[in-house]
Subunit: 434 residues, 4 copies
């Protein structure tokens, strides 16, 4: 059984490791976390789409509910009826077999259904899902459980998008709306930078099936890796400002050819959301418009900028497998969305040799998003688009301050096109063995 | 003193014919009519911009209030303070001397200020204006009165835009929202078509200053006109369908060169808002999605379509002066916005020889929008853009079902670019004398 | 019988004033003048198209020959055969009834037919035309004579385009090719500027049929004109440089709205072909890259620039009828293409009260290109596009240094879209009576 | 020392395996082969640029000469002077350190220098190179030899482009010019299709330095490969027509997301140069416009089409390493440019188990063009763009009917963006082990 979400394609082993009770608790917890995230918003905030990549908040809320209707409820209950049959058309993202879809760039042209109507829709779906959890025959439940599990992970992906998208919406508004006042407390900061060495070796990579995984993490397989070194922590704003001030954005030689075109035609000279005010760098955050903190990990850079920075620094980006091997024994701790910072924070870890592997920012790798050897597309509507995005995109690892801790794992492959930068994306350096 | 509104340039005699009391009553009446027009809307409806020409309803409500702040209140009260100083930036449309402006195509990217905040802003302005009406010294009042009068007419222009813009917003929504259920009652319909002849002659055209007028209606001047004939009524949907079915949209020879490019590159084959459903023409209206009524005046056609239709019919469009001379003795009666139909209605006039000169639809003329001989641009911010639009636009006459009766007059020159069709625009034929 | 050429629509009285001998002499003279104009070119120069408006020289040479095939030879000789049947497709410009056409922007993508093949084609057509002149029955000849006359005028129009187009082609080449070394001799220069006054009056305008004219010059008709004043000479480069240095290109208030968009999006800050080198203005001409001569008429400005300049100068552009009335008694003398200067020259006329009405530069008027009252489109392929361009274009009068003296006349209406500037276009000021 | 050519980035070992005599012979042979390839062209054919990817023939001839001036002659002779100093600007492709460049999409706007002038330029450079071969001190020669070797390979790359570009130029011409009448003789055709199996294993890939190689082929390194199967021959036109007729271009599920956008927005429904005439497929070739030969390898398909075809066929494309391992023992024989067919030909090999590995068509792999582990960018102008194109491109292997036999090798990595199809590009299928 397979699932494709709005910006990825994924495949799962067709069984769930979770009990009915665990799944129900996850469902309740994740669904209600969407309410937590939208609490600071006013009605008008739910409606806006500021660029094609961004979807209105109310669309995300409806689309994640539609998912349970399309792939669970109407699969189980043949007479299942949605509140409004047109919702299928409006809130499908790209599943062709499920029918026609409303055009993505036009999601911001819809005043109706209203926010209230969409909450009614969510309640309607939740109500039906709860009934299903209660009453469904065990055998049938077991068959549908993996799809429900996907639906839960799917909603977590859209929770991350709700945050990155509302950040973009607010950033376009001259009134500088604040999503949430900052709540992180200052602490001692570890700025030490080390290169950590790894030897040549044959490693297993990919998901071994012990936990949930999307299809693109499979099959689990061996790979031969050359020796390499990796940075002990993320690149900071202070380091990135050095790159800017050294003329990094003006030096053609540092850039990939497509990167140079992108930077030139968009007149980029700093990360997204940065602005120079009276000689000082400020940036727009979900906590307001603030001075750039030099100790925070740099964020909202494209692959092109990450790659040019690495070249400037005499280094390179890691491959996805280097990152995976490095992190394979790391604890999954970090600045996740559960911390409610909604922004990366400085490195406060003095204990581990390698820090900040999880949370804060997605880490760009130099690996194009490609199928693993033996990767298979599975049949059916959920799987129709598996592999569909495996071209012109780069892999990112580790999750961000907008990712749920329960959503991320070592083998997770996020991917975006190399010019994207509205997600919380940053840089960890690597280099070849000397 | 001069005023330029969002889509016109205008000039007034620097004195008002109205008493302080009359002006106050007009102010109150027109301001509150904006509330009437927005009554059917829900919060989300106020936010959307579906194309560059369209502005969100809340923008219109704020911009018309801003006008009184920028050109009246802050002129009179040197210490006048707006609720939020950024509103000047957000709600200025194009008056450069008043400062920088928020970019037009981005009006739909703003969730804040909210609808409630904009109503607070309107109340704040109204309150201050009422104070001004009460307390202002007569001499100063007399000087500012013509600007207030312009402000009132300016708001009436935006009331028309509120209707045409929300129509476009609703038309993009697959849920087919209804602005108001139709309330017009059927009656006997006059479909008789006559050519009415006019002789050669020298006529005075333009505004003689007895009533209010925008600057583009001045100076009042003589013109020599050749003999011509004009249609006794507007072109109907039935007649336009004949044109469509005769292959009008496929016959290059009927079209202006720029018209053919426009039709081809946009794949137009009918008026805006029309859709063929199972062999029958339907159209989206503010009263819902309905079958095209053959007896209604055709509406939402561009100049190019009006011109091609006229050529197909062996006729042409009238010049603006022909229209002005024909209407000079007509009663200003018709289907105006006060009727609350929000749609053109069939011709029910059996009395006058020439019908439907006012209301229903703006009538395209073949006259490019140009300055009258002796036209002068006046000094100051209100006048800074006079004449600015006198290129690549065509003149329309007579007002529509979205125009206030108290706003329109014989000499009124509306103008739009020849490919525009989201206003209520239609066709009256003319031809040369035989 | 009617003719439309590549950039105009035209109508003629269906008889020629010229004898068979006169027409034959004109035909020979005009056809061979095309050879004179292409003499400085090398094979590669004939092939290039630098923008959509520009056609390759070899296309012009072929298209003007095709005209005689399509509208004369194949009309007279039913068994007439072209050298290659595909030429009809390749060298038709826009006469739909004559069949499909090769797409205009792709004219520069054709290496074949070669230049030699096109000269063979011209000779083939000339040979057949001469046979026709010799042998045709008088009665048939009389019927076809007006079409031949149009064909001759049509070729003269394309001779002007050969010059303006090769100028654009050469200007794009970093090697600065020179078409012809300058041959004009310096003389005493008249820089005196006067306003010449004209009273209100009723005038006849348009072509009265005594000479050849295109259809857009008809019908001859009365018009009532207000009093006005006109500049005694053309605007010079020195005057235009004052406008530039006074910040004319930066001052929004001086510009039409569409003009400001055009100037901003193209980053215009001087006429086409001008370049500032070490603080001095230079311009690319057909005589080489040279310092701007302050006494020459300014050239290669768009309507928007002419209009903004006039506003800056406290004046306006003349209407087409003002120009026509002013020039009605002027001698048709000036710097025409026969002078072989290929560039406007300073005013050397100390005799006439109004100078430079003809030749040097086409003079922008403020008149949109519209049909005269009573204008009629005639039937048949030559007339199929009459009136087709009567939208979004402005009228120019008087001819230029690239126009044949035998081609221009008082009533001639040239027209281009307001942003065009690759023709030899300049400025004469006018203003209202004081 | 490093070299980057117009569409690749390359790296060489800084010494040449060739003797001075061998290098000289290669230089003479390759330079004169450019004359052979341009022999069928007329002057006008050298000038045209039909799309940004295409360069005019005369540009290729000049650019390959410029290369020897910029990187050899002016390095060796400090007082070296080019015929025209502006040629450096005009014929540089993208080497920023060598100075500014004429904009790529404008290469077709240059009539000068003429074709004759460019041949003079080539002769001038050849003359100076011969002098260098004769007179240069051995030690210095040895240092510059690898750059000369690169220059020779660089010219071979542009010889391939001369053919693919003139094919595109001719294909745009309605007169269907023929570059060369077909000269291939029919023979017995092998249409048998087998899957050839390969086991898991660790293999060395990349260039071991025994022969010339570009920098992107280094370092030679180990890789671990999973078992796989590969097609014994190329995909034929007959097989691709089956895909078309089965609705392959209409079936979203078969396509990558970016592929579907590309196909939809360009309305592709067959390979480039194909046209359906009266129910039969024809294609434009350098031998004329001909019926599609079902037995020829399919050609002029993009990566997207190759990938969709493979999915439709229940297979996938090979990785670049799979292709390299398969071909490592194959003889370098095939239909190369030396055969002067200028078109792929049917499979006539009944001897080898795997056929058509070299020549005919470049074979798309599923491998994104990425740096090998340990890949290094070298210093200097020739190397300034190494790695510059390693994003958004796919690797192709094996050479085509437009590639020189002396240019291709097992480890050669060609690369193009996935939507390119004007090169001779085709398909070999692969699949996972069962």
């Amino acid at each position: 059984m397979i699932l494709a979400n709005d910006s990825s394609d994924q495949d799962i082993k067709p069984s769930s490791k979770l009990s009915r009770k665990e799944l129900y608790d996850d469902f309740k917890r994740v669904r209600s976390f969407s309410d937590v995230l939208t609490e600071p918003l006013l009605t008008e905030d739910y409606v806006i789409q500021t660029m094609t990549d961004v979807s209105p908040t109310k669309w995300h809320l409806a689309h994640t509910s539609w998912f349970f209707e399309a792939f669970v409820l109407s699969e189980i209950y043949k007479d299942y009826k949605s509140i409004d049959p047109k919702y299928t058309y409006l809130f499908n993202s790209y599943y062709v077999q499920v029918g026609e879809r409303h055009c993505r760039p036009k999601r911001g042209l819809l005043s109706r259904p209203t926010v209230n109507e969409i909450y009614d829709y969510r309640n309607y779906v939740d109500h039906n899902m709860e009934k299903l959890f209660e009453e469904l025959d065990d055998k049938i439940f077991e068959a549908i459980a993996p799809v429900i599990e996907i639906g839960i992970h799917h909603e977590q992906q859209h929770q991350e998008l709700i945050l990155t998208d509302i950040k973009h919406v607010f950033s376009e508004n001259p009134l500088d709306p604040v999503y949430q006042k900052n709540n992180y407390k200052s602490f001692e900061i570890n700025t030490i930078f080390n290169w950590i060495k790894f030897d040549e070796g044959i490693h297993y990579v990919g998901n071994n099936g012990d936990t949930f995984g999307f299809d693109n993490e499979f099959p689990y397989h061996k790979t031969l890796m050359q020796p390499f070194q990796i940075a002990s922590r993320l690149t900071t704003n202070a380091e990135y400002i050095e790159f800017i001030e050294d003329g990094g954005y003006q030096e053609t030689n540092l850039w990939l050819s497509d990167g140079w075109s992108t930077v030139s035609s968009n007149n980029w000279n700093s990360p997204l959301y940065w602005d120079k005010v009276k000689g000082e760098w400020w940036n727009f955050t979900l906590n307001g418009f603030k001075k750039v903190n030099p100790d925070e990990p740099v964020c909202h850079v494209s692959f092109y900028e990450a790659d040019a920075f690495a070249r400037w620094a005499g280094a390179r980006l890691p491959t996805e497998f280097e990152w995976e091997v490095v992190s394979s024994n790391a604890k999954k701790e970090g600045n996740f969305v559960e911390n409610m910072n909604f922004n990366p924070i400085p490195n406060g870890n003095f204990v581990e040799p390698i820090q900040q592997m999880y949370g804060d920012v997605w880490e760009w790798t130099r690996s194009p998003y490609s199928p693993y050897p033996g990767y298979k597309t599975l049949p059916g509507a959920l799987g129709e688009y598996n592999g569909k995005f495996m071209c012109n995109q780069m892999v990112l690892k580790g999750g961000s301050c907008a990712t749920s801790k329960t959503h991320i794992r070592n083998t997770y492959r996020n991917f975006f096109s190399p010019e994207s930068r509205w997600q919380f994306m940053g840089i960890r350096l690597a280099k070849d063995a000397e």
